[in-house]
């Protein structure tokens, strides 16, 4: 077990491992995506209140879930960075920021497009929407802070602290629809009793959520490769690899 962990903590091993595993991840991702999209667009029946416009849920909700999930992964990495200073945790944290911002943007934009026909407005200053917008600013802020500090050892510490402070926003996003009277509808899937959604609608949604998880892993690994090369640029394995490939 420790030998296994030690191997993954070693950058050259991890870099090669990423290259080996990526094609399989792409296959799984596209498989899930095709199946999920088929279910989302064809087999799922139209909603009795919202008609076919509800199909936006199949990108909106997985993206919104992932926007919070990615942030929690970053927060866990931040704890590891501050306590143990593990290099891999630093790389994971920084590599997650871009994809987290992408998921948050998807959730906000598709939500806005969905809001227009259903609520009659592109945007309202509702608790759920506002807290999700703050999450987007947090992602942008983390990226800006990391790039603004020249010494990356100090930068990663500052970023970790910012990420941990921002964690307070996550429960606010999740419970905003229950704490305040919002225009945004309440949860339909993560309720403690039975989810109030038909099974034919629910299955494609869950498939899409898993597909988005795979997209996160793929995107994370692509960014992690870049981060590994930058942070290991003085080592001989990076030198040999770069020279060999040119």
């Amino acid at each position: 077990m420790f030998k296994f962990l030690h191997k993954f903590g070693s950058p050259p091993y991890f870099y090669n491992f990423i290259n080996k595993i990526l094609p399989y991840l792409y296959i799984i991702f596209f498989g899930l995506l095709l199946y999920g999209m088929y279910g989302a667009l064809i087999t799922a029946p139209a909603d009795y209140q919202q008609g076919n416009s509800f199909r936006i849920i199949y990108v909106h909700v997985p993206a919104a879930w992932m926007s919070m999930f990615v942030y929690m992964v970053m927060a866990s990495c931040a704890v590891v960075v501050l306590i143990w200073r593990m290099k891999m945790a630093q790389i994971m944290l920084i590599s997650s920021v871009a994809v987290g911002a992408i998921f948050t943007t998807i959730a906000l934009v598709t939500g806005s497009i969905w809001g227009k026909p259903m609520w009659g407005a592109w945007w309202v200053w509702d608790a759920r929407l506002t807290s999700e917008l703050i999450l987007l600013f947090l992602y942008i802020g983390v990226l800006a802070l990391y790039n603004a500090i020249e010494d990356k050892k100090i930068a990663i510490k500052a970023v970790s602290i910012l990420v941990l402070v921002g964690v307070v926003n996550i429960p606010i996003i999740h419970y905003s629809v229950e704490w305040w009277n919002t225009l945004h509808q309440g949860p339909t899937v993560t309720k403690f009793d039975k989810p109030s959604i038909h099974i034919d609608m629910l299955i494609p949604l869950l498939v899409m959520a898993v597909a988005f998880k795979f997209y996160y892993i793929i995107n994370l690994l692509h960014n992690a490769k870049n981060q590994i090369l930058i942070s290991e640029s003085t080592t001989s394995w990076v030198k040999d690899m770069v020279k060999k490939q040119s």
Binding site: G51, S53, V59, A63, A98, K116, L229, K239, Q245
Partner: protein, 62 residues
């Protein structure tokens, strides 16, 4: 066979076609960009590193 009318009806999404399709299009465009950008960046990083190593070697030799 699927008729032209059936395809048009499917695309119209009961009048919500523009909203539904633009949502999916924007989402997938962002996701594709999210992959292309780091892949391009990797090439640039490798190029820059190669230049840096070559410069270091030249300085070392003289």
């Amino acid at each position: 066979m699927i008729s032209y009318d059936e395809i048009m009806e499917f695309m119209a999404m009961g009048g919500y076609g523009a909203y539904v399709w633009s949502s999916f299009a924007i989402s997938f465009a962002l996701m594709i960009w999210g992959i292309i950008s780091p892949v391009r960046n990797l090439k640039k990083i490798k190029k820059d590193l190669l230049k840096k190593y070559q410069r270091q070697e030249l300085l070392g030799k003289t």
